[in-house]
Symmetry: C2
Subunit: 344 residues, 2 copies
């Protein structure tokens, strides 16, 4: 009789009963020791602990979850893990959740089609999670909203407030205003904008705030240019804008596009910040080392992640529902890619 010859049923280590037998106590006492209850005699506790080590006891979280009706686990639905912001937010979420004693279940949406999103939510219904944080663009969510299981606590990380779920996000409007005003304050007549894709609420918020800031200052509003967050699209835009002598200041909706734009301006021989000033958004770890070092808007992904987890755990444990959206403030980091316009 070799171990593991049954492919169906895997015996994973030993259970409470084994420990109990070896320590000469009841299963209940093992349970008490495992859960750190106080009403166990010191010598008994030691005996149980020794027995646990001997058999390599690990509590079975499935049984525990079944008994308690809770998994102590949260799901994170993420659309594109490799995107910069999502990664940083996920990192913060994982950290916050872990230190609150919750496990993190990753639920990637494999592709962008509506069917895939729905599938992800269906799968979610079967997941062992007490709540969900949604890190995908809310436009996608719209399509599949019906699929969300009833009564499951949800927090959406997005800038769109018109959901039934609590929302936590960076204060996109404030960040965009900071960037635009910085350039205007330097003396530029107006500010151009390379925005994110229209599928993104965040991009939408930044663009609207840029436009409002210009209007409030009675500046001309140049046509918006739409990118897709990638350095490639920044590069393409840069090649085009470099030909336009009217352009002296650009607010780019993220740092990666700004990088591509900087490269295009180098190639076209346009000096930054001499001829053109550039402001980004994100403040990646590398942005300080772009050429020239990039002035940008720093968003606190850590804060967004932490507050999302707090909100979700609040819902899970206390049934709280804060429908008041949380907007995490940003900070302008001034480096060397911005300067007053050249006298002409």
């Amino acid at each position: 009789m070799t171990a593991g010859d049954s492919p169906v049923r895997r015996r994973r280590g030993s259970s409470m009963a084994d420990v109990a037998r070896i320590a000469g106590v009841s299963g209940q006492t093992v349970s008490r020791v495992a859960n750190g209850k106080h009403n166990v005699d010191a010598t008994t506790r030691d005996r149980v602990l020794a027995a646990m080590r001997e058999v390599g006891y690990r509590p079975n979280s499935a049984a525990r979850a079944l008994r308690n009706g809770q998994f102590r686990s949260i799901g994170v639905i993420v659309f594109e893990l490799s995107s910069f912001g999502n990664t940083r937010t996920l990192d913060a979420v994982a950290t916050a959740a872990t230190s609150s004693g919750y496990a993190v279940n990753l639920l990637p949406v494999l592709d962008a089609t509506q069917g895939a999103v729905s599938t992800a939510f269906t799968r979610l219904g079967e997941q062992a999670v007490d709540g969900v944080i949604i890190l995908i663009e809310a436009h996608e969510l719209d399509e599949a909203e019906v699929m969300l299981p009833d009564g499951l606590p949800v927090v959406v990380v997005d800038s769109s407030a018109h959901y039934d779920y609590p929302v936590v996000d960076t204060d996109q409007a404030q960040g965009a205003r900071l960037a635009t005003e910085h350039l205007l304050d330097l003396g530029h007549a107006t500010v151009w904008h390379l925005g994110g894709p229209s599928s993104s609420f965040a991009a939408d918020r930044r663009a609207r705030s840029w436009q409002q800031t210009l209007t409030a200052r009675r500046c001309a509003v140049p046509p918006i240019i739409v990118g897709d967050w990638s350095a490639d699209s920044g590069y393409a835009t840069g090649l085009q804008l470099a030909e336009n002598d009217d352009v002296t200041a650009i607010f780019v909706a993220n740092d990666h596009m700004a990088l591509g734009l900087l490269r295009a301006l180098h190639e076209k021989g346009r000096a930054v910040p001499g001829d053109i000033s550039v402001v980004g958004f994100d403040d990646t770890a590398e942005s300080a080392h772009y050429w020239p070092p990039l002035t940008t808007v720093r968003q606190s992904f850590a804060e967004v992640g932490r507050r999302s987890v707090d909100a979700l755990i609040g819902q899970i444990q206390a049934g709280e529902h804060h429908h008041q959206p949380v907007a995490v403030p940003t900070e302008l980091i001034v480096r060397s890619s911005t300067a007053p316009p050249r006298r002409s």
Copy 2:
């Protein structure tokens, strides 16, 4: 009697028994329908399906896991999520695991101290996972190895082969050789190296391979410079190397350090690739837009992630143990940061 007034016990929706009662069948039949078994009459199945929809039935994965002894979930221990390679690998792991029907449990190690690593492994013991992929530097693992639960399938993503666990990683040595030979083939007398931290096996492999390649070509071996993967450390190194006229070619162990180094060379007025050629390692999405566009070694994180998952699921389901390490090949991407040395 309001819902949720018991904070301890949460009733999540309805169980098989509810569905069974409404459909007028036994729980077992509901189970068969839920699991797509064939031996259920079509009309009965429809009745059960209708009842499921009516009460919003979702199978309880805790009970299922308890019954089956499997969680259909894998854990990923990750040390620093925000590091570039880990993120990409995690993305691939999540994708591969999901399409194989496994959930992904994220287990972040909150800080670098040995205690924290041990804590993570202890926590791991309590996680609902059938196997684990370890994405942290194996040096860290060394310290805490004893803590790994017995009999739990493990795959290590690292370049160090001397573990009891299957290992999957990029072929670091081949990549470093590609980079070094490219520079030598361009005519450089020798190649300097900015390596990663000594705590990293990957950095160690790249450095050793760089040195071996130089030795094989009978080139002088300059002193190695040690960075910490950050653009900051690349910048610091660049400021220093810019003063040294002997340096005409540098192989940098990752693209982020290369970015910082490029910035330092710009600031010091050293032309790239005119005065100095630079090769990186990773090929991030941005590397093509560095100034100048960076020649670098592309590693296939997607492949590493996929093969890790395959190996792990193989262990879980069939008990296979391939102790033969898997080395995923790299590819040299030639852009504009390398050129023959200037005639002097």
